[in-house]
Symmetry: C2
Subunit: 306 residues, 2 copies
């Protein structure tokens, strides 16, 4: 068996980083000794916090994989979030919890479930394969789940996600509520970032029917901290719209404490936000009450209204 590179989406979030590590460990335990945990972008502050806590090295950064390389994809099934030459790579497996947006010309192992986090599915795969979950793996998994579900507050959170965290916290021997809040807060610290970096933090490029869109999400413990940069953020968004020929750029500034999102929307289809949420953009911005999940509360609703 040759090398298998395991990675998640571009702009990796905590789930992409942790599920890659957790999947590489599972593959090794199942006999694939050349499974390598990888990432295709910078480790964010939240993930840094987790890796430091667990004493684990970050996955290997990969940039150009040779055509024909075998890969396992976690936490996405979207071509736009994968390396540009994804169609030249051989996808052996996908484990994901998102919508389906890739084509292959060959059959593969594909495991997706509509749960809150890829690591929740990983937890099930460990159990199904009778592979032991040690303290470190448990910490990585529960961190991913807490990150994706915003400590169970996101509408994407399912009973399975919550139960997995409760079980994993016993193995990891930690107070998941305290640990989780500290981890989430570590992730909201954007003080050291440039405007460009903020706009790229968790940017997902997608097509809402014909509307070419980027939806970026930035978590915060206090919305005004981010909104004071509105002028500079808009300037940066306009540049990206022009460079990429976008119809719409949506920036969600998500309050992880109160579970709302302030949205900034620019581009010729900005009215799609108004139509989708029955709000009026004033000075390009509006508060979307109760909206915290891009996957469940933004992409399907805006697709339907596009």
């Amino acid at each position: 068996m040759g090398k298998t590179y395991i990675f998640g989406h571009k702009n990796p979030d905590t789930d992409s980083i942790m599920s890659s590590l957790v999947m590489a460990n599972l593959e090794k335990k199942l006999g694939n000794s050349e499974a390598i945990s990888c990432r295709t972008g910078k480790v964010n502050k939240e993930s840094e916090y987790v890796l430091k806590y667990a004493g684990v090295e970050a996955p290997m950064l990969i940039e150009n994989l040779e055509a024909g390389s075998e890969v396992i994809i976690v936490d996405t099934a979207n071509e736009k979030e994968l390396p540009d030459n994804i169609n030249e790579l051989k996808i052996k497996k996908i484990v994901d919890h998102h919508y389906v947006a890739l084509h292959t010309s060959y059959p593969l192992y594909y495991r997706a479930e509509p749960v809150g986090c890829t690591s929740t599915i990983m937890y099930k795969l460990y159990k199904e394969n009778n592979v032991e979950i040690d303290k470190t793996i448990a910490t990585l998994m529960l961190s991913a789940i807490i990150s994706d579900t915003l400590l169970f507050k996101s509408p994407t959170c399912t009973v399975e996600d919550k139960n997995a965290v409760i079980e994993l916290a016993k193995i990891a021997d930690l107070d998941y509520e305290k640990y989780g809040l500290d981890m989430l807060k570590a992730g909201t610290d954007i003080s050291s970032f440039t405007i460009q970096e903020i706009l790229n933090l968790d940017a997902k490029e997608t097509s809402l029917k014909e509307v070419k869109t980027i939806i970026n999400q930035v978590n915060t413990a206090y919305i005004p901290d981010v909104m004071k940069m509105q002028t500079d953020l808009e300037e940066g968004m306009k540049k990206i719209i022009e460079e990429k020929g976008l119809d719409l750029f949506v920036l969600l500034i998500t309050d992880i404490v109160n579970s709302n999102s302030q949205v900034i929307a620019l581009g010729k289809n900005a009215d799609l936000v108004e139509k989708s949420y029955g709000v009026k953009l004033e000075n390009n911005t509006a508060l979307l009450k109760g909206v915290v999940s891009r996957k469940k509360q933004v992409i399907p609703i805006m697709t339907e209204n596009a």
Copy 2:
């Protein structure tokens, strides 16, 4: 919970019919009382043989599902093989063993494995969920596996497929080799079909990169029985090429006893067959030695050469 319609691909083969029945039974056992086994096309002779043997009614024929209907897809993940309004339906689950060729705007349950048959995955799902497999369900499952793997002769056949049949034959209390050959032979009887019906029997529309193609496969126990209709078949193929604006129509006439396929190729890209297999088409036809699997030995190879 509302109704859930469960079906496979257009021109349903034995796996599509049986996996739909087997999945509906599993859903019911797991509490989804309104799961309905369906089909989107005619039951073929092989499937008729199985249903009669097992004493099971054919799945319900569906034509126009209302927008918003909940569906479970088995044995395909290809938009082109699904109802035209598939994007208006809500796909709850997919269980499949083919390549990925559909997009969704929402997460779903997706279980695919690179095994020879959807029913092999169904067999695993029954076991994982601790649902009993009775004699009838065992017969349906093993029939699908024997059909898709041509009694283990297809290169798509894996150890898992074979082991499943051996286990299921014990439950079904039958001699799978004898039963399997009788079933396969029943499926090769095309004496009652018009040319149009033969050309539509197991036709799959696909894009080999930019080459708009139909690949149709007809099983036979003796190739000359089918080749004596070559002139009429070609006339019918030409009509379909014109109607659908195809670049290529590939008809595989597969000898299930000796594991070869005679190919008839028409259309402006017919040379793609020559390039892919290093053969020369004479009078539009050539023998492809050892080729029996469209999925494993045709689509990926012709895609690579397209």
